[in-house]
Symmetry: C2
Subunit: 152 residues, 2 copies
DNA sequence: GCCGTACTGGTCAATCTGTTCAATAAAGCA
DNA sequence: TGCTTTATTGAACAGATTGACCAGTACGGC
């Protein structure tokens, strides 16, 4: 992956609210030539520095107002099996392997507390998953952002 | 916030890779009138169903290849103070208040394990934060996605 | 001093945008 | 059932934007 430089960050920051801002507008707003902005936008989309656009969609707008983290303990021999099964659950948004006692931390969403129970059950039943512990998020204290890092 | 319907989701799914796809192309690809796509795009950006574009930027592309979750225990009387302080740390990407024993779960990134130490120190020093416990992510097993939910 | 790379500022035709409009579904309600 | 409201369609327009070029310039490394 390509590291983004200061100009890239300025472009991204300017696109923050409206990613469909015309290139010309961007260019004059940033004091750059149109071609420059254009080529950098192209490079950034190619380089894989950006998540797919759908990652912008708030789960709440898809009816998933409930969020939680599920910690899972694994049968280490069946790691890949478990991951494949998790990948097939749409409510699983993300999954990390932390250092420490838990093997996986799984970000999930659901339509209701009851639905969350169903989802965590579905996770518990994945092959290779031995034990899970679900902790529901009561509040989103700071919504996901990268703005601070862009301003450096 | 407005709930997204099937057409909205189809539009978003079509925009998944390239959010700058021209409206005309979208319309014919989805078999819709241009005006329809246009008004829905407008409504979606207004309705707050989408995160800012900058949330697409991978921290790794900003030199933050190290990710972690910091669990924090709070002095409950100083909750807002703590949150305000956390908001000022650019490496804090997100923060949730879960049900259970920990008060806050803080998503952070850093340039290196050493830098992660610095960041978690900075969190520990926030007013109102009593104790923290950092667990570094060794691997991103499933990168953030909402694709599954969009296809419903 | 030379080279490669990136940026600038300019042009071009083709396409797209924002905006209107009347006509046509579709959906909710009496 | 019939009426009202709302969303969608297809069409038109002028004006702006796009992608593709180009030659000239700035800059860092060798």
């Amino acid at each position: 992956m390509q590291e983004l430089d200061a100009t890239d960050k300025r472009i991204l920051a300017a696109l923050d609210d409206d990613p469909r801002l015309p290139v010309m507008v961007l260019a004059q707003r940033l004091g750059l030539a149109r071609g420059t902005v254009q080529s950098r936008l192209e490079r950034m989309s190619e380089s894989g520095a950006l998540r797919p656009n759908s990652s912008r969609v708030l789960p709440a707008a898809l009816g998933r107002g409930v969020a939680a983290a599920v910690s899972a303990e694994l049968d280490q021999h069946r790691l890949n099996e478990a991951i494949a099964a998790l990948r097939d659950i749409p409510e699983v948004l993300e999954c990390h392997a932390p250092a420490g006692d838990t093997d996986l931390i799984i970000r999930v969403v659901a339509t209701s507390p009851d639905d969350l129970y169903r989802v965590s059950e579905e996770i518990r039943l994945c092959p290779g998953i031995v034990r899970t512990s679900t902790s529901m998020f009561l509040r989103e204290v700071i919504p996901y952002r990268t703005t601070g890092l862009l301003r450096e």
